[in-house]
């Protein structure tokens, strides 16, 4: 199990290197010039050259990517922002907690609303409750989060004036970003839970549990729920990572100073170190999340746990076989 964990953790390194190369290449070949963006109009060619040299932009593609990776590995540095000259790590350290809090809060609501609704929907299949919930879920799945964000902003922020429209100053200002970020996830998780639950409650072992004389609520909680956790965990994990990506849109709309907005500003200003740094961090979190979900699978399902350890057993058996062979020889 530990071996598996370390192996998977090491695998994130090539994945992130791949992400880095792709992002670097895209930003390199994207039209636009960070030096011109900063200097504006009316600069001398000498100033331009000096600044380009300072940023290391005169080195060409391989020189730039080489020195970026070298700095990252040797000093653990993401470089400095072109625009503000502040180290990226420092900027991210301020903004990342905001984005993470937003994502965790949204995911929290996705789970506490989506999971029970999905279970109820399955246990009361084809009831009026189930049918109406399905209709709502389909609408929520189909509407992109930025439309939802803008519409709710207009309704609750501008027309009704119940909730603030930007920033994160009071608890009230969290409601709209978290809600618009979570609604889509709730719909997806609800549908997933319903489908899985419907499959699980038709299994023979659920009938066995009922034949024991257990209460229906205990049957669902103790026997059915755990058995449908695998797909549900997958949805929750991918939801959390999607929330991070969705932060770009939500933070821009609600004017929240998080990583998403930072990335957006970086893209607009062609501030390459900002783009690279934030995207690598997001990629890293996605990798870690996937690993965490995979490890949780093993925790939930002993059959999966057995698979993880079987590699070790196989290796042991092979070793035994080899030593036996050498003895014979």
């Amino acid at each position: 199990m530990i071996k598996y964990f370390i192996k998977r953790l090491l695998w994130t390194i090539p994945v992130m290197l791949g992400v880095l190369v792709v992002v670097f290449t895209i930003t390199y070949f994207t039209p636009g010039d960070p030096v011109m963006t900063i200097l504006g109009t009316g600069y001398t060619p000498e100033r331009y050259a000096a600044m380009a040299h300072e940023f290391g932009l005169d080195k060409g593609y391989f020189g730039q990517i080489g020195s970026y990776i070298w700095n990252l590995i040797s000093q653990g540095s993401f470089g400095k922002s072109f625009a503000s000259n502040i180290p990226i790590a420092q900027e991210i350290a301020i903004r990342f907690p905001v984005t993470l809090k937003l994502a965790l809060l949204s995911t929290f609501f996705v789970v506490i609303v989506g999971l029970p609704l999905g279970i109820l929907s399955a246990t009361k299949q084809y009831s009026a409750f189930d049918t109406s919930l399905t209709a709502v879920a389909l609408i929520l799945c189909a509407v992109p989060s930025f439309i939802l964000a803008l519409l709710s902003l207009i309704l609750f922020g501008v027309k009704l004036r119940w909730l603030p429209i930007s920033g994160l100053d009071t608890w009230k200002s969290w409601i709209l970003p978290v809600a618009t970020n979570a609604l889509g996830g709730i719909a997806v998780l609800m549908r997933m839970t319903r489908t899985t639950m419907l499959e699980v409650i038709r299994q023979d072992y659920i009938r066995t549990a009922r034949a024991k004389g257990l209460k229906e609520s205990v049957v669902i909680r103790r026997h059915a729920l755990q058995n449908c956790l695998i797909p549900v965990l997958t949805v929750i994990g991918s939801n959390l990572t999607m929330q991070l990506a969705g932060a770009i849109i939500i933070e821009t709309i609600f004017n929240i100073n998080g990583m998403g907005m930072y990335l957006m500003q970086g893209i607009l200003a062609r501030d390459y170190p900002v783009i690279n740094g934030t995207v690598i961090l997001i990629a890293f979190i996605v990798c870690v999340m996937n690993l965490a979900v995979d490890l949780l699978y093993a925790l939930v399902d002993p059959r999966i746990k057995a698979q993880y350890t079987s590699g070790k057993r196989k290796a042991k058996a092979i070793r035994k076989l080899r030593s036996a062979k050498t003895e014979v020889e």
């Binding site: 066995t208 549990a209 009922r210 024991k212 004389g213």
Partner: protein, 322 residues
């Protein structure tokens, strides 16, 4: 008085398209400590009858239309949901057909047995645990394997676990739904022997559902032959094995290979079981019967006692024509 007395039990599965008449007017009774074999083809309504006794029919689409199930003098169909839960697993327990899927894959087998003991046993968790270990050893599984999961067991061992679970609360009635069908022959014998021994120890009555007449001959005191949701013949072992009356029962025996007679080919019953959503009029078996007459197609035969304890549902037997 008999422990279980089923009278006129009728169970339908009602869907938008049609009504599947799975069990029609079934009468059965089991005495304390006795074993009743319920024999029939796939789809005859055996499992539905069993699930009906425990009120475990999925509703909808299933519905117990009429009848009464007297257990210890109480009509199970009139009991409250709470009372029926107290009976399930405690007074009446069930061994399911497929051991591969009958156990929760992510729960330790010991816990699965202890769960039912703790629920009905009026004991602490430790005592329930203790009892589960004892039950595992009773069915021939070492106690230290109780912390393992079902996927670590072979099919035969899983069925032993299911049996341990079913007998953990010393039920008065054990419903065994084809307990050996999914097992290979050597394991079949072991499992049957074990069920018989445990049944004797706990003085449990048993409803054994099977389509294997060999198993019936070994284990049962009485036999009910089921066809298209009806009991077509009922009696003790001698009645059914030595003096079968209903053409379907006779057909079943003819389709078995015999060591005594040297025959070229077996003679199976021709045709197929009728669609339970579209049952024929009159006798349900007339479409496949060798002795069919015009009346058989129109008149529904009554369930007649032809000698003490021997019931047959056949018009021509009733008239003494065959």
């Amino acid at each position: 008085m008999s422990l279980l007395d089923i009278k006129g039990l009728t169970i339908h599965y009602i869907t938008h398209q049609n009504t599947v008449r799975a069990v029609n007017d079934v009468d059965l009774s089991i005495d304390t400590g006795k074993t009743l074999g319920l024999v029939g083809e796939t789809g005859a309504g055996k499992t539905t009858t069993a699930l009906g006794i425990l009120r475990l029919i999925q509703t909808p689409p299933g519905k117990i239309v009429s009848g009464e199930i007297l257990f210890d003098g109480k009509d199970l169909l009139k009991e409250s949901e709470h009372n029926i839960r107290m009976i399930r697993g405690n007074d009446i327990s069930m061994i399911f057909q497929d051991p591969m899927t009958a156990l929760n894959p992510i729960m330790r087998v010991g816990d699965q047995i202890a769960e039912v003991v703790y629920l009905h046993g009026d004991c602490t968790k430790e005592e329930a645990k203790e009892r589960s270990l004892h039950m595992l050893e009773t069915v021939g599984i070492r106690a230290e394997r109780s912390t393992e999961f079902p996927h670590q067991f072979s099919g035969g061992m899983k069925q032993r676990v299911v049996i341990a679970m079913a007998l953990a609360c010393k039920p008065k009635l054990l419903i065994a739904d084809e307990p050996t069908t999914a097992l290979d022959v050597t394991i079949q014998a072991q499992v049957l022997k074990m069920i018989n021994e445990l049944k004797a120890v706990y003085n449990t009555s048993m409803l054994l559902i099977t389509h294997d007449l060999g198993i019936v001959a070994e284990t049962c005191d009485e036999v009910a032959i089921m066809y298209a949701g009806q009991i077509v013949e009922y009696g003790n072992l001698e009645h059914i094995f030595d003096n079968p009356k209903h053409p379907y029962t006779i057909g079943l025996f003819k389709s078995l290979p015999s060591l005594d007679k040297d025959v070229e080919r077996l003679s199976p019953i021709k045709g197929l079981m009728p669609d339970p959503a579209n049952l024929p009029t009159g006798c349900k078996f007339h479409t496949r019967c060798d002795h069919v007459c015009e009346d058989c197609k129109a008149i529904e035969p009554a369930y007649q006692e032809i000698e003490p304890g021997h019931f047959v549902r056949c018009l021509r037997v009733e008239r003494g024509e065959i």
